[in-house]
Subunit: 293 residues, 2 copies
């Protein structure tokens, strides 16, 4: 049975945190939404836009008394907050997050928030990751429809499997009301898949954009000739380092493995520009893009 | 002064050739458009859709008597047709093309269609390349608006520089009526730029799609998690080999150079996932995507 959520705290009221607030409101949530952000500007934009209903200057007080605390800062910040929150919150609270990598976060969760029979009950932790975003951040771009049609991944704690968790159930219901499909997945598998489908595309677009900047700068003929292919392949080149540093730091090995595999694949293709092997690569790529039955 | 074009022949009535015919009609051209294609099916679709006004079964006869012949087949086919057309057409005809690479075509043009004082006049040749397309081909997808807003590149023959060319002028005017910006550029520079902004993105998308097909096939969790970044970066993976074989064969070295440079850049990024150098790459990529003043 799901609990009733009456007060939510959002730590980090930028693009994702702000969109969580706006989505709650669009979905009919009428309780309090307390916001905190290290940037007073982001915080006041979030308040003005209705993504939060109140501001707390003290980040710790912002957490006390809430049913759900959503950590919507970069991954290393989430890890810090998991440590900080431990002494502030107890069994009546759900701590959840929206971090882009999950293995480090779930290891920390098992250390700090695991259920141990015979020990005092602790706050619940539920890992989360909405597969939605934009190439720029900030509360001004937050959007109550950002998550519609997206997959919101959950990585539940292994040590809590099978235990009743009414607050988690309630939070999952809100997320579904955002228009999300939800999906539970193991943290390690999450990080490998995200390395392939999200982090590798980002690094690829960054590398290609940086290379083109070195080769052409703002050469007019290149800009005039480049069409949709160029725009699409470099769109993510606009993403700021600040949004990706923690992904690179917390998912280094899976990401390095994908980069290495792609380097080899490109070399293979380069060595086969004039051989029938090029056809095989195109056919395989066509398979990937073909509608599945 | 521009000549009047009353009869156009389109060799190859697929996506691009068919779109040329439809664009002519949309732009108010009321003359004949003779079509030829190696596929009777494509040819009849082009006729049904109004992209051409008549079909010629004999490809050679299709050329005789036209003011403009547009070669809209892959690059190696264009080279063949340039040889075949030489004995069919004379000074009253403009031969032009829409091929994706230009150096091999313009070398052939200078051999077969150059202007030499004191020699009998020959048909004119004007290299062309509309920077527009789709990831699938065929007359059924042809579109009279395909070229609107795109750049249509011309690579004029060096040996005809400064000579009056009323047919070329007339053809350029039609292309502008398609909604294109036109731009003259040297064939070698064209091929280098296109290697970077068009051929490399294609090969990259093909390599990434093929790699993902090998890694995941149709694994449901990967498909559910992949979002816009994945869709964009693999969209061109749907492109057929038949559309790209001739690009790989006729622009091999410039394309291999771009692939090699990207492989090195990805390796550099991979080796710096945990160093401040990653920030430099993001900043450089951000510059490439920043609006230019």
């Amino acid at each position: 049975m799901a609990a009733t959520i009456e007060r939510v705290t959002i730590i980090g009221t930028g693009l994702i945190g702000g969109s969580v607030g706006l989505s709650l409101r669009s979905a009919g949530y009428t309780g309090q939404i307390i916001g905190w952000d290290h940037s007073p500007v982001e915080l006041s934009i979030a308040l003005e836009r209705g993504a939060i209903t109140a501001i707390h200057d003290d980040p710790y007080e912002a957490c006390i008394g809430s049913d759900v605390i959503v950590l919507a800062v970069p991954v290393l910040g989430i890890l810090d907050w998991m440590h900080r929150a431990k002494n502030l919150i107890g069994p009546g609270t759900l701590l959840t997050d929206v971090g882009s990598t999950k293995a480090a976060i779930m290891e920390t969760a098992e250390r700090l928030y695991s259920f141990e029979p015979g020990q005092p009950a602790r706050a619940e932790f539920l890992g989360g990751h909405p597969m939605a975003g934009k190439e720029s951040g900030g509360a001004a771009l937050a959007d109550g429809e950002l998550f519609r049609g997206a997959t919101w991944i959950f990585t539940p704690m292994a040590s809590r499997a099978g235990l009743p968790s009414p607050l988690s159930d309630a939070w999952r219901q809100w997320v579904q009301k955002f228009g999300c499909r939800t999906m539970d997945i193991d943290a390690a598998r999450h990080d490998v898949i995200c390395a392939w489908v999200s982090h590798l595309p980002q690094m690829l677009s960054t590398a290609l954009s940086a290379l083109l900047e070195d080769e052409f700068g703002d050469a007019e003929d290149m800009r005039a000739i480049g069409g949709r292919a160029l725009r699409e392949m470099t769109r993510l080149g606009a993403s700021p380092y600040s949004m990706w540093r923690d992904v690179a730091l917390s998912n280094t090995q899976p990401l390095a493995d994908t980069l290495s595999a792609l380097e080899q694949r490109l070399a293979h293709l380069r060595e086969n520009l004039k051989t029938p092997e090029l056809r095989e690569e195109f056919i395989k790529a066509n398979c990937f893009r073909a509608p599945r039955v």
